[in-house]
């Protein structure tokens, strides 16, 4: 089973990296009004089915992959 976790800075959380990227894109002439920079984690894992894989990845997010104070997560589970 494969899964992808998208970790984003939560709305309302200052994201200086995103601001710097947005400013640079505007400098290059792109009409970007907002940029936010997060993190992507690709996982391969053993799981009986998609539901149990998702459960497992949710636990991974809570325990390590994200800090819920400042980050939100989106989990995508891909069937083999």
């Amino acid at each position: 089973m494969r899964a992808t976790v998208l970790v984003r800075p939560k709305d309302g959380i200052l994201d200086p990296q995103g601001e710097a990227v947005g400013a640079s894109l505007r400098t290059l002439g792109f009409a970007v009004s907002r940029a936010r920079v997060g993190r992507l984690v690709d996982l391969e894992l053993d799981a009986a089915d998609a539901a149990s894989a998702r459960e497992e990845v949710e636990r991974m997010c809570t325990e390590l992959l994200s800090n819920p104070l400042i980050e939100s997560v989106e989990i995508q589970v891909l069937e083999p």
Binding site: L14, P16, Q17, L64, L69, I70
Partner: protein, 232 residues
């Protein structure tokens, strides 16, 4: 005061780089400071205080401190803190304590996205911790900072609770990194666990610069002296 120097364990993680200075500074201030490897499962007998030093444990991968908090020694540190043993987290150590939920909040990239490395003035906001018991409220301490991810953050309710409970221990005089309410250091409820971004271990010798770290480290060593009898 007993003649024996209290034993202070300075935990060395892969990527720690202020562990040596911590040992040196604490030794100067009368502690028997010893390095402890992060894979150890127990603190030395009669440990009276624990330091999580500055550095870049585990390469700051994922988030600063996020991986170090699973180090085998951390269970012992957690138990030691729960019994009231004094624990001092400096810079990366502060990040580890936050990730381990031993302290509230989280350290985020500096707002200016620059690594800051200079002496700053922090004001003592709370004297109800073992680290600041000898200070007066408002005392200015000049201590260096050197971090890229030292912008402390917590939500508004948490900050209000901490302020009311005297758990905001140190505040930058000027905004240096975008930290909420210019907070430089916070403590646990009992005032026995302190995390701070400034480096008191670099500010103990007048030959090398300011000495604002002395009161904090001295308070810690005194607390370790008591704890080595009570806790250990």
């Amino acid at each position: 005061m007993s003649g024996d120097a209290p034993l202070v364990a300075v935990v060395r993680f892969p990527g720690s780089n202020d562990d040596g200075d911590a040992v040196l500074a604490l030794s100067m201030l009368g502690a028997d400071a010893r390095l402890v490897w992060h894979r150890d499962r127990e603190l030395p007998d009669r440990t009276g205080g624990v330091v999580l030093p500055g550095g870049f444990s585990f390469g700051d991968y994922l988030r600063c401190g996020a991986i170090a908090r699973f180090a085998p020694i951390m269970e012992a540190v957690r138990a030691f803190a729960a019994e009231g043993g004094p624990v001092l987290g400096i810079c990366n150590g502060f990040q580890i304590l936050c990730e381990a939920a031993l302290l509230p909040g989280v350290l985020r990239p500096n707002r200016q996205l620059e690594f800051v490395c200079r002496d700053v003035t922090v004001l003592v906001e709370s004297t109800s911790t073992v680290f600041t018991a000898s200070c007066a409220p408002g005392d200015p301490l000049v201590i260096p900072i050197k971090h890229g991810e030292g912008s402390w953050f917590a939500d508004r309710e948490t900050v209000a609770e901490l302020e009311a409970a005297g758990r905001v221990v140190l505040r930058y005089e000027d905004d240096v990194n975008g930290a909420v309410e210019r907070i430089a250091g916070v403590a646990n409820e009992a005032g026995t666990v302190l995390g701070l971004m400034p480096h008191p271990e670099h500010a103990v010798d007048p030959l090398l610069g300011p000495v604002g770290g002395i009161p904090i480290l001295r308070g810690f060593v005194e607390a370790a002296r008591t704890a080595s009898i009570v806790v250990a």
